[in-house]
Symmetry: D2
Subunit: 291 residues, 4 copies
């Protein structure tokens, strides 16, 4: 199977390499073309522009850094739109908001092309290991065609229906994650102030019904007051806000998420927005806390 691949950042490079390793013929493009060399050494062909890649390949995947890059690759001169059309498919795996995704979808469909949004859950390591979780939505036929590629890139892919549902699913998952982080932090503080060892609490939690990778990974650094940003708090709070907005539209009351959101806002007001979202622990610890 032949695919185009636009964007060779940390994620994109790992993903394109995986496709090559599994026998896909891949035509790559990157804004800085020198980044293509490593993949050429693995057997990739280079396309001069996004348009050139789309011209050559029936299917093109993009993995770009943010919404503005995602739009630029499609709408700019020599962009995807110039060559997309009947019989061709475009799959954007970047993490973008629903509005950006809809805009690209409309434009591609107007040219007669097919579009799938497919944001992923997972970062560098899962990308290298082909262990991403892929949240796809849009054109079902194109999704079906892409399954062989998705099987290489991820441990699991989901087709979620209409455009925007990929972004929504991420919001719901991140909302649950943000509330859990607060519950976890409250528990660590309560243990500490009640004369229990927070470290022992981590050990007990890890053996029980609520054991999960996040507690295991974040707990020890939270106890040290170390919040190296894997997922910045301000982004987590933005996702809480967007999830609560989604609940507002559909009249779903979410009092726990609302309380968690206020704690994240408090953290932002204390200047913790650029730290990891686990830094909400500083808010809950309060003055002079040691948990």
């Amino acid at each position: 199977m032949e695919v185009g691949f636009l964007g060779l950042g940390i994620m994109g490079k790992a993903m394109a390499a995986n496709l090559l390793r599994h026998g896909f013929r891949v035509t790559v493009w990157n804004r800085t073309l020198s980044k293509c060399e490593e993949l050429v050494a693995m057997g990739a062909t280079v396309g001069e522009t996004p348009a050139a890649v789309v011209a050559k390949c029936k299917y093109t995947i993009a993995m770009l850094s943010d919404p503005s890059a995602a739009l630029s690759v499609v709408f700019d001169k020599d962009g995807v739109l110039e060559q997309i059309g009947e019989g061709k498919g475009y799959v954007d795996m970047s993490t973008v908001d629903a509005a950006t995704s809809c805009k690209i979808s409309e434009a591609v469909k107007q040219k007669g092309g097919a579009f799938v949004e497919a944001p992923v859950s997972g970062s560098k390591k899962p990308a290298e290991d082909g262990q991403l979780v892929i949240l796809a939505a849009g054109d079902k036929a194109l999704y079906d065609d892409m399954v062989p590629a998705f099987d290489v890139l991820g441990k699991r892919s989901f087709f979620l229906g209409e455009i925007g549902n990929g972004a929504k699913m991420k919001l719901v998952v991140n909302m649950i994650m943000g509330s859990m982080m607060n519950a976890f932090s409250e528990g660590l503080c309560l243990a500490d102030k009640s004369g229990l060892s927070p470290q022992t609490l981590l050990d007990v939690l890890d053996l029980g019904a609520v054991a999960n990778p996040m507690f295991k990974m974040k707990g020890p650094s939270m106890l040290q007051g170390s919040y190296n940003p894997a997922f910045p708090l301000k982004h987590q709070q933005k996702d809480m806000r967007l999830a609560l907005s989604l609940g507002d539209e559909t009249a779903v009351a979410m009092p726990v998420a609302a309380a968690a959101n206020e704690a994240f806002k408090k953290a932002r007001s204390l200047g913790l927005g650029d730290l990891d979202f686990s830094a909400v622990h500083e808010v809950l610890k309060g003055a002079g806390g040691s948990a």
Copy 2:
């Protein structure tokens, strides 16, 4: 090693059997003595009364159904107190409140004996498999002596310091669990009302950073509106209340737990107290919901 074992309910029988299988000499007692037969077949000796067991064994473990049974076995005629004393240890593994535990501890220590409270996390299956988690507190020397037995009964034991800390640790864990259940339910409702499949949300959650046994186990039955009581909602709400009280004593603000507690109270007011604690989902779904 020789131990006494008081109480052969579902949990106690499985635990005593495990000790026998691992070469411990075990003297058992149960209020209904006929329940001892199965263990006698496995090599156990029978004690006529709790006092007789303590008289015979240096160490005695109890696993009783509730605080009143735990008190009765110690303070009644022919009870533990009549024979406990210097050089003997008593280990209560029943789930009781801190006050009950303290009362037993005081009485045993006054007689010169040593006491450890050791409530467990885990039910029938983990008890049979020797996979309990043991939250011990009290006399450290006695705890150390008991480690060989705890190694047989559980996958892990913790020594948590002074009497009462076992109960407190369970409260903290259950508080986190209760908040997580609310976050989970809110997410299921939001997915459903936003046009996403709640079943797919379960699948996505199970592949990510917050995957945990509780979501995996409770999610499918919650989507069916089925709440067979593994842990009754009224007990979960009581634990939330006690954890919030503990936070009140120590001035720890826990807004997410407080919001979750109010949802559990709402569930109680709707008559759901005897169902599983996951029935809080009915409150969050609201009228006519289908998630």
Copy 3:
């Protein structure tokens, strides 16, 4: 002093009549011109179009039903913009969102005119009695010129600075009001379920430090489960949401408002959005409550 007056609905007619009674010369316009007759009988002159009114008067006040009417009167053919310019002032007292207000402000200023937004607090009766509270913002010199008119229309006027601040002040006030309504409802429910008479609670509250017109007015009807919409719940919830958004922009944590907002959302999900905002009481009472 001569003023133009656009919009003779319930509020506008009462306000224009007050100006006439206090010796102002008033030129009125209304989409349905027949509504002008009553004011002509009191001494008013009629303008054929908004543009005609502005052409004739140095100052023109508008009191329109909603944002779309407010925009139409300014931007449509024969609208305010055709005649506004240097030396003329336009004062919009309608309740509109900040975006609408900014749009009108920009357009008027570009023509060389001065603009003041001046939403009011108070409805029909205060309008008739000249007892409105006026929340003005925009051009300070124009505000100063308008003080004699504001003194007739309201018991108090405030100049709040830049355009948009009038709308923001209303949001803050309504947010406090919404939280108080929830606190009040929770108290009524607690009294009822605790064996106290909710009616007596109303009496006690009315004699104490938190006595306020809203409790006095809404309490008796809430106890009867009667929620005739003076201020629809869906509008109250919208204002809570907008106030929380404002707090999100400025990183102000507002946990009580957030909890209140979720209760209003719950009420919407139960189909109570078109009732009075005091209908949130139905949510808090829960199933089978009688308070």
Copy 4:
């Protein structure tokens, strides 16, 4: 009408003086007897002990500083219990918890006497002006007999049913007050951070539907960060906790009160417990706030 009066602190002296001014014959007692002189000058008689006062008077009122003084006057040597009996009534107007009140009630009734608890709302000034609000409960016949005295002491008295209801009614009122204080503080913070003048917000609030004495009295000092303790924050938080407990017993969900309670707890954790309850504003302002 003849009454005994035990306790001549700030409140008690003002109340006894009011009774004398309205023609009651009053026999007074105070632990420090010299405090009786002022009232003797107004026509009071002195009783040597609580027992002596009860022996002389058909009705005895007590106004003591705290639960321990209230218990001491009844149960100690020469206390109320020694002379109370058939045909005599005892009215405790001190602010005590329900348990203290029940204990006194039981003891008085066992001797054949009648008992009314009658905590008041209002402090020194209302006591002097006969403007207290009296929350009475217990023996209805005794309450009826006391109405002439209550009419002199308060602007209004309520009979609330069984013993304990007076204390409960105060909890409900204080819970509403505590939630309102949080809503108020959140509004002041939001105004400040949104570029609105908090002082103007106070003025606007005072002209509207939620205007109340507490906002008027506390607002200006809160803006100055001045929290002279009229009602200490730790007592307000205790009342929130007790009200939430009452709601727990009766399964009333109170999410707004719960959120407010957590803010008060946070304030306690920051060492603000001895300041006025309006000091919760410091929590909501957060670091570096100026509202």
